[in-house]
């Protein structure tokens, strides 16, 4: 298994330090990752729907992802890796932080799920296993990487021709600065202050340009908004704060 130094190309070392401090609390639903737990149903719903459409999978099957090889980049404690495994996929989860991967491994064992967790970086895995995955998921990660261009190129390299890349992130607008950063970090105290650097956020146009540059074709996009009454995140036509995108690697190179 890879044991890379966290001070490598695309990961911002400050980010790694911040997450390590709370690694063991990943699965505490009332803990520091509560907002990510709240955010999880909407992104899983999008992954299920978009990948089912893209790969023409059954809408009603109990294990619709049976046979799919998925990569969850920045998997954290396994919030996305575990559900995708329950849906039948063979999941590889990677994270730059060793303690986080440790948490994920322990939790998967407790719940009886088999997941291939590794401590490594996307670009290293891309060199090791190019084109190995039917779909690559990078949810709430790209806003933390130091070199988004290199990161997106790695995503494109990891997915097989005909496969898909799923990304969620925060937009760089006044609204996202207000709601995505200040409200979440300072007012609601959802995430530790300093979690996000607003200047690192990408607009949908910028992300799309990066994906295109890496040879991917955008297939789907949607906004995601928080509904304070239902205390849930929902799809929205407004891409002003959170948004999701699916891009496809064309079959013929």
């Amino acid at each position: 298994m890879n044991q890379k130094n966290a001070v490598a190309s695309t990961i911002d070392p400050d980010d790694v330090a911040r997450f390590s401090a709370v690694a063991a609390e990943w699965w505490d639903m009332q803990g520091p990752f509560a907002p990510l737990h709240k955010f999880t149903p909407v992104r899983l719903g999008l992954i299920r729907e978009w990948l089912s459409d893209h790969f023409v999978l059954s809408e009603t099957a109990e294990v619709p992802f049976d046979g799919l090889k998925l990569l969850d980049i920045g998997c954290g404690g396994g919030l996305i890796s575990e559900p995708l495994t329950r849906l039948g996929a063979a999941v590889t989860g990677i994270d730059a932080d060793e303690r986080t991967i440790g948490t994920a491994q322990v939790h998967a064992e407790q719940t009886g799920l088999e997941i291939d967790y590794r401590t490594c970086l996307a670009e290293d895995l891309a060199a090791e296993m190019p084109g190995a995955f039917d779909a690559v998921i990078a949810s709430e990660v790209i806003e933390h990487v130091a070199d988004p261009e290199l990161f997106v190129a790695s995503l494109a390299k990891l997915v097989r021709p005909g496969g898909a890349v799923f990304v969620t992130t925060l937009n760089r607008t006044m609204k996202s600065l207000l709601f995505g950063k200040f409200a979440a970090e300072y007012v609601l105290r959802w995430v530790p202050a300093g979690t996000h650097d607003w200047r690192q956020f990408l607009t949908p146009e910028e992300l799309r340009a990066l994906l295109t540059e890496a040879g991917l074709v955008m297939a789907e996009k949607t906004g995601i908004r928080f509904d304070p009454l239902g205390d849930t995140f929902e799809r929205s036509s407004d891409l002003g704060i959170n948004y999701a995108m699916l891009a496809v690697r064309p079959k013929a190179a």
């Binding site: 899983l44 719903g45 049976d66 407790q110 719940t111 799920l113």
Partner: protein, 446 residues
Amino acid sequence: MGIFTRCANPCSPCGALYLANGTRAKFWRRDKGSKSVKDILCDALIVGGGLSGISAALALDAVGLSVTVIDRVPVETHVAAGHDGRTTAISQSSKRMLVRLGVWDALPEAPCAIDDIRVREGGSPLFLQFDHEDAGPDPMGFILDNGSLKAGLYRAAATRPGIRIVSPASVERLERNGEAATAILADGRRITAQLAVAADGRGSPTRRAAGLRITELSYDQTAITCTVTHERPHDHVAFEHFRPAGPFAMLPLNDAADGTHQSCLVWSERTGAANALMGLTDGEFDLEMQRAFGESLGRLRVTGKRWAYPLGLIHAERYIDRRLVLVGDAAHGIHPIAGQGFNLGLRDIAALADTIEDARRIGLDFGSAPVLEKYQRWRRFDVMTMIAATDGLNRLFSNDSAAVRLLRDAGLGLVQRVGPLKRAFMRGAMGTLGTLPRLMQDPARH
């Protein structure tokens, strides 16, 4: 801890491999050598095999879970005549759910339809009539005795291979951790599931053991219920008579085999007065009942046993805890004034089934806290509304002050005259208001 455990269904150990979280492993093989009959692994375990428990088993089975029900009382006792003297009002949306779960067609007798509800207040001459034609072509609801309803539920459950009923058996303790809930039975058997459902009634030992507190309110009212025969047909009309001591209801039942007309009496009185009524002979009771009800159905006669149930309101402060969820009376017991107790419990169960189905669709652990919280948020709002309505209704009418009476009469007259208000009241009573879970939705409207 091993990752896999083997299915040990005492009835038919199939050797299927289960993950530690209770989900069936993707690859499993039959193992004829398995002799263990002690332990059971399933998706959900339900404590309590009454109306709510079996309804919950059927609803969770319908969304694909394997279910084990644990009950102290053997099945035969549940369905034996005279075990439970009460009747249950079934709303339209509850009927749709019972049809979908295969219960309606398994009922030993068809429930009696209520076409109209006639409401009268104290000595007031005002009558409020809820005719189902005001709300649509369907009956307002149905009345069924609990014995028949239980028989239908148990018959439907017997046809489902995913439902296992363990009874008579008592839960000694329920162990719950981050991954699973395990019921340890008095005989040493262990039943492990991803989620435990407490459907063990108003006094729910499971709720108490979990330390979930309740808010309790006693009405100092006792309801007397019994079957009453009468000279004239009821024409599918339910009578609700609000009296200062409490509501008095006569609910239509199907004619007996010999053509005798009959209804079910639910008579609430101050507990002291109710005890006195219970002490009367049948003949004396008939006279009191006749005096309270009037002559519209002709001569009234009690048949069979009279049952007395003290009335009170309970509401659990939380419906969920780690790997545990409360449904039905274990979560809330309301005043029977509007006949909504069972319907409210069924809505819990349908909402739980919806929430679990949605969670499983996206691969979430359906027994985890965020999933259970969604259920709690959905149900608490609905239940609080119903508590406010029934408690308010009871307080409003069980009061003899002249001022309140004046307001009441004005209110009844107002509701009678204002069409939309009346329709809203009726849709509420028929159980078609608000966000309906999928099991209760009207296919014509969705």
